[in-house]
Symmetry: C2
Subunit: 372 residues, 2 copies
Amino acid sequence: MSTLIAGTCTPAVVVDVEVLDRNINSWSARFAERAVGLRPHTKTSKCTEIIARQVAAGAVGLTVATIGEAESLAQRGFDRLFQAYPVWAGTPERARRLRALHERVDLMVGVESADSAVALAVAARGTSRPLAVVLEVDCGMRRSGVALPELSLLARRSLDLGLDVRGAFTYGGHAYANCDAPPAAGDDEVRTLQDAESLLRAEGVEPTVLSAGSTPSAVYSARPPVTDERPGTYVFMDRQQIALGAGSIDDVSMYVLTTVVASHTDGRFVLDAGSKVIGTDRPSWLEGHGFLPAYPAAVVTRLSEHHAVVEARGPRPRVGEVLALVPNHCCVVVNLTDTLWAAARVDPLEPADLLSSSDLQRWPVISRGSNT
Amino acid sequence: MSTLIAGTCTPAVVVDVEVLDRNINSWSARFAERAVGLRPHTKTSKCTEIIARQVAAGAVGLTVATIGEAESLAQRGFDRLFQAYPVWAGTPERARRLRALHERVDLMVGVESADSAVALAVAARGTSRPLAVVLEVDCGMRRSGVALPELSLLARRSLDLGLDVRGAFTYGGHAYANCDAPPAAGDDEVRTLQDAESLLRAEGVEPTVLSAGSTPSAVYSARPPVTDERPGTYVFMDRQQIALGAGSIDDVSMYVLTTVVASHTDGRFVLDAGSKVIGTDRPSWLEGHGFLPAYPAAVVTRLSEHHAVVEARGPRPRVGEVLALVPNHCCVVVNLTDTLWAAARVDPLEPADLLSSSDLQRWPVISRGSNT
């Protein structure tokens, strides 16, 4: 899967494998200590080399966002897949794909409405065993997921339809609301899954899955009755995670290498990594669109598709200089490239030599654009 | 290149070919009337079927953002390519690619600093003819491009280096500053290129290219001495362009088909087209992340990677309903998918049948992720 190459151009996404491995192993150990499983969200890396490392480090399963991602992993021999999403299976093509996947791997899918449960049951008709579902319950983010009072009815309907109800999952995405939000979001996840457990038991379901999520909240919700956590970003870390306290700058294992293509005497300079490379995600509590370790005072103030405009606020690089940028949100960066370039080590202060390094390996992004 | 298919799943990007053709032909006629060429920016569609239509409608050349996009077009037989970007050619791999491209097609590249000009001249050394460059001049956006007073020196340096200086280009991207900005941005483009023309003549250059850009400003700057316009978005249109007055809702030729995966009694519903499908671009002067013709009062208030949270503010769709969404910015949508699904007509009020229509053709996105 990986190819040694002789040279690449910017913008390029590079991975520091030593830091990557340290993140994977330390997070694995951290949750093992608490007897909570890791079911990493693979949408972050979309990369076989990284997902295989997570499995080797003891993942209890893998999380995906789409059927396309699950298909891509199943083709590569990965099993125990959980689509933590309110899956709609009510069209012939999607029902066909879901059925094929269910016959091939140990698959669990999310459900959060009676209509979806009906469609899933119809889609799975005639397969060799009942389709496993996990009921999504909202813990405060107000995205998808039923409110707790609706859980019992959803469980009953799912059971009546012959679905294999494994338990409940929630996502404390309100951990991203501000830099102080993660502990309370983690508490919300635990409390919600506790209540879900009681409600499910009252319906005759002994849950084997009570799954919580998110890199910033995971450390706060990793306690009973939570059975597993679904963080994704922890493998790479990024500016958001550092601001939220989930990691430090030393834990960053992914950088975007970018070249200065313009540098002006008014203190402004321009990088060749725009929104089509680093994405535009920027929460209100982060200034700018990335951090440049070699120019720590600089602020990436504006993004066009192929330009990042930076205010130096200090020393200013010359045209042609290669910089390493820590992106705001690593998941969108992966989704915008075909290749992660893996190196044993990345020095974010001296990244230029990497572009012609014989140490660089090509790790393909396997399910980019698998959004259906 | 196009494949008839039997069924697809959401999220899916669909193109109404009748409206697409109307846009291509009407914009072509509009600029022909004014004796200004169209050099469409191909980063919008990244699609051979669409770019070929633009060439057939009389494009004087094609604009690209990256060498990768140019390589991709050159491989498919397109010529007269202009990389309207401050190209840095100072690494061996990029110099090699640029040289190969220059030998293969009629290529012009942007330059906006003496350092870049030196690197371009070195990269082109030993090729069969001088490398053609167009000097980038800023007209008020303050992204890349030299200020007018610096243009003479840049021209002189480029000439001294043996580069084939064809003229100047500018990009009135400040047309996107607010809904009333396009006319003044167009005027800025014209004024700047007028001054650039005089400055270049004083250096002995008779410019054959005085190129302006952007879909919202193009109609305001299409007059002498501008030789050509580089709009991209006009082929599809989107919410931004409608708000800026570059087109109307009837000119929209691209929609994202999306399925309602959750629908709650508090008026909130959730679509399966998140930021990894429609992008997060949202200027301050647009509310929400897309327009739903079937639910015109609804506002897409929040995006996660695979969820769009919508406030109905009126009737609310049921789970499983397929909706057509007009994205804020069509260019980022194309860059996030492998396929445009082309249909003779798209009815945004009744899009569900398209998913199983035998009329649907697969148009590949050819240079997604070609960011280097």
